[in-house]
Subunit: 451 residues, 2 copies
């Protein structure tokens, strides 16, 4: 709390949320410049400015939307730039969101911190250096294990040369853990739809990446003592897992007889593809089936899952599972007539519910406005537009097919949405929490991260 009150605090820390936004904008500029260079483009000439900008934003915001075929359009250098941007983007978002959470929890002052000591465990992540090193360590470990598994499978199952298998394995592993959604094939993961040895490592890495650094740190420290987990970790897991199960079940059942998606697969491969696609909505953005051919109901359910997104301070997008869960619990408490919102034997401050409300409604407002703008701009069917808008805002990168038909202005709208969706909920949630006045709490309170 010294940092929060001392007037000598460095100026940048006064508006840390702005620093994050500016940092991402600067990285977009660098990435666009690099991808605009002729050597980044396969063959002659260079990419157009909008192609370079869109791809840089898509990579840095770990979305995975593509306006040009990744493998056909970019040279090896271009692919390395894309992968580096995705890694920087994923790393940047995990560290900055974690650090914003640390600042916010310190700002709440000594008294509340003492009272909430048991709850701040998940967010007393330590100093800046510890957070940076921690994120590097978890990223390297998960990406390494995933890359080894994928490379081995490509060597053994597909008779690929070592260099080629290693390159695709590493590319997919980095893309998975950072939920970037870029693949080296134009069909994303459709070639591997029935291969659990390829699909499950990708699902696993993106699932871990979407849990968020605070949860991963806590799971590593005390995996076997769930009772000691912070409210944030409990809430993230208790929301993530049911959403994944329900999403898998719905998509599998709803697409079971659709010959263009699951219908032509072996019966045992259908739940695998359903799981893969449900997991992809939060928010890796890979696809192992043709998303454009899915039923209208599947799209709507995926819209909802994408909008909810993944965990806070993770590589996933959306309003975050804790935001969704807090609002759901607040509504249930209201239905039951309970005077306060409680979660896992902790009271949740009304102020926190209002922060969740703000993040969710501001996000909903952005989605509605962007949808209206794109409907007016393109005249495309609403289901396509909503899917593309939510997929962009939640940095998922699944496409309804609309993206490739968009004029440059439409692509710029989606690029803005990706940027806003990547930076918005996190900085908004943190800015709201940072600005919260110190209060004396009657009860120890749980403080899940919002946004």
């Amino acid at each position: 709390m010294v940092e929060a009150k001392a007037p000598r605090r460095p100026r940048v820390l006064r508006h840390p949320a702005q620093v994050v936004a500016l940092g991402f904008a600067a990285a977009v500029a660098v990435g666009t410049a690099l991808l605009w260079l002729p050597p980044a483009r396969r063959g002659e000439g260079s990419a157009t400015f909008v192609e370079a900008l869109f791809t840089a934003v898509s990579a840095l915001c770990v979305t995975g939307h593509v306006v040009v075929d990744t493998r056909e359009h970019w040279s090896s250098l271009g692919l390395v730039v894309i992968l580096a941007l995705a890694q920087v983007g994923g790393f940047g978002i995990m560290t900055s969101a974690s650090l914003l959470g640390v600042f916010a929890s310190r700002r709440l002052g000594l008294r509340s911190r003492m009272l909430t000591a048991t709850e701040s465990r998940g967010f007393d992540l330590g100093d800046v250096r510890t957070v940076l090193l921690g994120v590097v360590r978890v990223s390297v470990v998960v990406e390494l294990v995933t890359a080894v598994l994928l490379t081995l499978r490509l060597l053994v199952g597909y008779d690929r040369p070592v260099a080629s298998a290693l390159w695709e394995g590493v590319f997919l592993a980095v893309s998975s853990f950072n939920n970037a959604g870029f693949a080296l094939r134009s069909g994303s993961m459709t070639d591997f739809v029935s291969d659990p040895w390829m699909c499950l490592p990708v699902v696993g890495a993106s699932f871990l990446g979407a849990l968020g650094f605070p949860v991963l740190l806590e799971l590593r420290k005390q995996f076997r003592a769930p009772k000691l987990w912070s409210l944030h970790t409990k809430l993230t897991l208790a929301t993530t897992i049911p959403l994944l199960v329900v999403g898998t079940f719905f998509l599998t059942v709803n697409e079971w007889r659709n010959p263009a998606t699951l219908g032509h697969l072996d019966w045992w491969a259908r739940p695998l593809a359903g799981l893969f696609q449900a997991a992809a909505t939060r928010s890796s953005g890979f696809n192992s089936i043709d998303v454009t051919q899915m039923n209208g109901g599947s799209w709507l359910v995926m819209d909802v899952l994408m909008f909810i997104g993944g965990g806070s301070a993770s590589t996933a997008g959306g309003i975050k599972v804790t935001t969704f869960a807090l609002l759901a619990v607040a509504v249930l408490a209201e239905f039951r007539g309970e005077p306060t919102v409680t979660l896992f034997h902790r009271k949740v401050a009304d102020r926190v519910v209002r922060q969740a409300l703000t993040v969710a409604l501001a996000s909903l407002g952005v989605v509605v406005v962007a949808t209206t703008v794109l409907v007016e701009m393109t005249g495309a069917p609403l289901d396509q537009v909503v899917f593309e808008v939510v997929s962009s805002f939640a940095t998922v990168g699944l496409s309804s097919g609309l993206l490739l038909q968009l004029p440059d202005t439409g692509q710029v709208v989606l690029a803005l949405l990706m940027f806003l969706g990547r930076i918005g909920p996190i900085t908004l949630g943190a800015a709201l929490a940072l600005r919260e006045r110190t209060r004396l709490y009657e009860y120890p309170e749980g403080r899940p991260i919002i946004g």
Copy 2:
């Protein structure tokens, strides 16, 4: 507050929200039976059960959705039944919502009532008899004036015989004030699109009906002393009027060059039709232009306006303007970093914000689920389905054209939505407020009605 604590309170008053739902269900049964009788049907035979059920629900819930042409299908007796159901529905909803508000404010107990005395003015509507008589009086006055204006116009401007002009004038007047949306012509009000003498009385009556009884009562008592108005009245007017202005502006501009809607009209008639259509979304449901031919963006804006709806304890549907305004103000307060939500120099309890949140999110959930069900059931385009679902849930009765293509099961889904949308937000809001525990307030608080 004696009622709230005495154990001898009559049993029905313990769950007044249930009484309202049961009353409406009983009225639906009676209306369905009447419309199912052969004399209610024009020509030979009787209506089918689903036609009778759907029409009874549509009339009683003052929606105005039609699955059969109103004038062609029903005899004069049938039309009288429909009009009576609409009148009973509008009267029932205004009185029951007002009475639920009275019960809720009494339940809050002596202490908070003394502190909030200046604020409960709008809701100290008096006893049951006063409320019933007040609603009858305002209904009769507004409907009479409207009927006289419309009848005179039909006599003078269209050379209609007296009986015919009187019948259509009365029918439209009752339908307008109760926001029922039933018209005697298959094109609704399209014959009168350029006639302000027909359009403006309809807009005026439905606007008044959509303000709600508490607001009308207060306006009548102290029209010239806006400073004395309750928070509820101020908030309702401060939300209703901007929404109407913005809606009119957007629809007029967005449809200006659309030859199928406004494009073929004189320039001065376009804002009139824009106003008429914007006003119709809250929630009379009349149309003076062909709604099915409007642009996709116009539909989306109308979706939002319909979902918001009109005033509490009014003949309008939706989540209600106060619910919307409270959430918007809570979000703005959060953006500004204010520790409490204030409105017109009144603090709004966090509990009230949570009630608004509950009504809005529960409604949004119903709309999303119903949309998914109908998309799966019909495979119809999403924009049509969303429009039809929101229009039904908010008891607006505008149609995207989907309704007439629906199978019986789909019509039953929409009938359920109308019933849920009519009864749900009101009883939910009241049930939540009724269950609220007595609390000692630090500040005098404003209490707008939720739902």
